[in-house]
Symmetry: D2
Amino acid sequence: MGNTIGKNFRVTSFGESHGPGVGAVVDGVPAGLRLRLEDIQADLDRRKPGMSPYASPRKEPDQAEILSGLTGDGLTNGAPIAILVRNLAHRGTDYQDIAKKFRPGHADWTYFVKYGIPPQPGGGRSSGRETVARVAAGAVARALLAPLGVSVRAGTDAIGTVKASITDYAYSETDPLRFLDPQFSPLAQLEVEKAMERGDSVGGTVRLIATGVPAGLGDPVFGKLEALLGKAFFSIGAVRAVELGDGIRLSGLLGSAANDPIGPDGPLGNLHGGILGGISTGLAITARLFVRPTPSISISQRTVDLDLRAAEIETHGRHDPCIAPRLCPVAEAMALISLADCHLEGAHRL
Amino acid sequence: MGNTIGKNFRVTSFGESHGPGVGAVVDGVPAGLRLRLEDIQADLDRRKPGMSPYASPRKEPDQAEILSGLTGDGLTNGAPIAILVRNLAHRGTDYQDIAKKFRPGHADWTYFVKYGIPPQPGGGRSSGRETVARVAAGAVARALLAPLGVSVRAGTDAIGTVKASITDYAYSETDPLRFLDPQFSPLAQLEVEKAMERGDSVGGTVRLIATGVPAGLGDPVFGKLEALLGKAFFSIGAVRAVELGDGIRLSGLLGSAANDPIGPDGPLGNLHGGILGGISTGLAITARLFVRPTPSISISQRTVDLDLRAAEIETHGRHDPCIAPRLCPVAEAMALISLADCHLEGAHRL
Amino acid sequence: MGNTIGKNFRVTSFGESHGPGVGAVVDGVPAGLRLRLEDIQADLDRRKPGMSPYASPRKEPDQAEILSGLTGDGLTNGAPIAILVRNLAHRGTDYQDIAKKFRPGHADWTYFVKYGIPPQPGGGRSSGRETVARVAAGAVARALLAPLGVSVRAGTDAIGTVKASITDYAYSETDPLRFLDPQFSPLAQLEVEKAMERGDSVGGTVRLIATGVPAGLGDPVFGKLEALLGKAFFSIGAVRAVELGDGIRLSGLLGSAANDPIGPDGPLGNLHGGILGGISTGLAITARLFVRPTPSISISQRTVDLDLRAAEIETHGRHDPCIAPRLCPVAEAMALISLADCHLEGAHRL
Amino acid sequence: MGNTIGKNFRVTSFGESHGPGVGAVVDGVPAGLRLRLEDIQADLDRRKPGMSPYASPRKEPDQAEILSGLTGDGLTNGAPIAILVRNLAHRGTDYQDIAKKFRPGHADWTYFVKYGIPPQPGGGRSSGRETVARVAAGAVARALLAPLGVSVRAGTDAIGTVKASITDYAYSETDPLRFLDPQFSPLAQLEVEKAMERGDSVGGTVRLIATGVPAGLGDPVFGKLEALLGKAFFSIGAVRAVELGDGIRLSGLLGSAANDPIGPDGPLGNLHGGILGGISTGLAITARLFVRPTPSISISQRTVDLDLRAAEIETHGRHDPCIAPRLCPVAEAMALISLADCHLEGAHRL
């Protein structure tokens, strides 16, 4: 289980890395929304591998097909929108060794413990390829929310020890690492190149901003917008810490330095990071995602094989030396899905 | 909405700060579990205000009543367990000023925007008092999981700029701030005292450890244990960032330094923080919660009144100068609820 | 599990027959609704035992307490509304015999098989007393829907072999069996009296009508209004068949006799029973519930005791000779809960 | 919304009559189940149109493709199973007239009211074609439950005024109307032929039996097995009444005639219809579904066009003169889905 998220904008993800395809069913979209295949394709293309020297060279066309949910005129009809992306670039031989040994740092071991199945080619369901489903669903959310003025962007904030000093989301779209800072991008690239040379990988952080979010989204208690975003971001494979607003810094401050005064239109500052008491204030929501280094490295590591005998493993294949840049569109998708879910909640007051 | 959490161990929270009471309905507990009122009371007592010079002096007996779900012999009967804690220590006059002005940093403003209701005494539903429901439900989860060997403990890891250098959970139970480090606790206390003298508050961090968690808990994709814990922790009012394992540090490392080798019984180290691919490995799960300073301070702040006219507000009343210590039992409860939910999931394999 | 119903108007029921009390938590009610305790009490009083010579003589004051969800002004505040009704009229001795033997036709056996617990006093969770929670929650739904013009009424349509020839809902409120037909009520009463004399019970049917339901409630496929009502009605203990509109008669007709022509405001007749394709048309929704005779009879029956040895059982105690009349307010509640759930669904179209 | 059913065995249906295809995502199936495409295909073939002179002549190969959820060895892997069936036999011209007028008795009007979209070709989402998704998902449930000995069969019990006098499920598989009684099948066929000659349609009933169901499935209160089955059956388009066991007859009986005595292995008779108090007893579960006549008839009917002007409509096209026979595999699927959902519920007792 665990393949569906959301209450009002419900996304069900399916598909494995080396199966026929991956996809999503999006339920809850109101009728009458113009949804273009190219809107979905645009976000899928931003996620695609093979787009940069620093990303996996796996070539996938990642061509989406909308299977349902549209009228003949291209408007949503209120029914679930199923989107399918075929897997075409299997290269099973890359994984022959893997299929017989557990990869350290991967889901191979825990899937084996839980499901009793040996490591699947390309990681099967645990593969980053599953995020195609999220990005496709996120594109539907984006199409729903864009007319309200909602915009969600993410970029790479740090690679290894190199941190961006500014957050320029427009620039990051053109950067080979989606780095947010043109000045330090060359250093970040060097960090990745050094890792690549050694057959190693490196971690990073992703910074995200959602602007134009209407005030009033989110619920109290377990339905807090913080909780929904926290769940959404932590559901991304490599994410191991999440900060909303300037949450880490706030934990070291005095209250008098952490409260935004209130004016007739709401908070006058944004130390609160766009959410108060679980509910959006209308100001920008920001988040930082801390991304562990990709576990698949070609340096030899100790592990066991399927008979639980000690073994060495080197994971060759077409892996990303740093997954943070490719998580950017995924992080956007998860934020969009969460915001759409809140947006579609029914009336809160008579 | 948003007042229920969990799929298999479902907790529904109800109640406001100054209403008749707060409570929880816990559904999904298997029949045959011995559940003692004193088990619930013990955790409620650990959460209670008035227990330390550094906590709100509000005195609440917080006496729980189990309304349903037990046989005459004190065993669970498979039906929902409803637990009620009456509110006795209202002191409405503390809040007279508040009721007419929006408190900066509080949910007052966003609740007003969303629900159209003015600030409620004590914060109403957004009050920390709601966490009584969580701690009561968490105690049920603890009773369910303890026989499996699961133990969850949390302590204060930092207050303002003072950080614990060790994590001694046994010691922290006796510390007035639940500080994890006896050596630095006096400094942490000083930090709180300084804030109290100024009528100010101060932030902090909470560290949590879950041991004895069986391997195999959690699901892929959106049901990852990271996602469930992320949601659970971010649903706690003042939490603005969450780190699982050493997630922040990992984001700056190379993959070769971040993978735990695998032996015949699973991972040989715990850099992965007890969870791989959304599923527990059987090793300790750790988390750090970054807690903002309490917004209620008696220093004058700019705000608006109910007619949206500029005003000054000083929040007197019985507030906690640092909420982190009191979040410790709440964080434990949220972790226990999440783990119980995973534990009760049906068969994953034939 | 299974103690919560609804997606947008969520009702969680708790409590056993002979425990401290029964109650409901109702989540999803928008803020700003005036909710009076007497509204809830009025429906509880309509359900109460001891109100007629033909109902269980058990005397319960069934006094409701609203534990949460209201502002000081008696308006809903958007938070969950918890309602508690204490059990006062336990008479455990009635059930001493029962506690040692399984009652034929009761849930005793299946609860034992599923939960491993022996028969509980008064049936425990399976007792009709649990319907107090439903009626209380239904009263909240009624308060929410009444301003829209929605009215839901149920009456007894048949007792044993005596059928009502008309459906006079106003009259039925005053009838000792809630019989819908003043002319045949004496015969129906005779049917019950004959059963009572023998220590027997008798079945019946309940007829329900919902008027003023706005067009557009309900969803396609699994969320059809028929499906929601079907689930809601079949969740009532003694209901073993459910007919919507004239569904049974329709199954024997030709299509040309079963279609309502359409005019500019929608269907011109109501052979379709107020719902087409899962969605309400705005015309009256009607239903008939077929209610089995109460299994608790004082005639001797074959059963087994807790050691699974053959035994005879006579169920004395304060049982209803015909439960159909007392199900009427419960059926209303379940319809109201279902309609409120649909009504609170978010936007279906842009 | 409303396109997902189930808690533990979750089925999400998607697709419209004249779109690219229809399908289902089935989540919750444990790993290790051998699932063959031909198992799914076998049930789809039983549902297919064009198989009898009395069914729609629309020819659809209805070839299923499993898109996800299997290992390379054909075992389930614990991930969601997505199944797609392409639509090939569109014949849009049949529906040109329909697209401009509302069909009496159809969902056209209510979908227009709810979603603001005009009638879609073939009924769009409300088409019986959607049941392909259910039958495919039901086949997965069948594969899961068959090893436990669970068998679910449905046949046609009545057509118009012709009722089966026996229920021979083996025979019905070979009958052109899936009629349960070889003796009366010719009369039933005559009933359909008479309707066909007039361009009319006729109603009927479907009888279903589930054997080998383990005792203990289902939950109390809203999760009663009756409630799950009631919801499942009423979610089928043309079903307007549902009887479990001999529910209608029971409502006219005395309690002494309606209780099954209990022996050491449970109830000794099956007047209770396989379910007591919401929970299965292990005896056969039976149900009867009352099916309205197909609304699509070629006899002229009064309606309005898209401009709400009075119009006449004759629905030509490839419609079923009696839909009851084709609902049999759908009813089976819905029962199987419900039973699988209960079967996969986690532990009920320690």
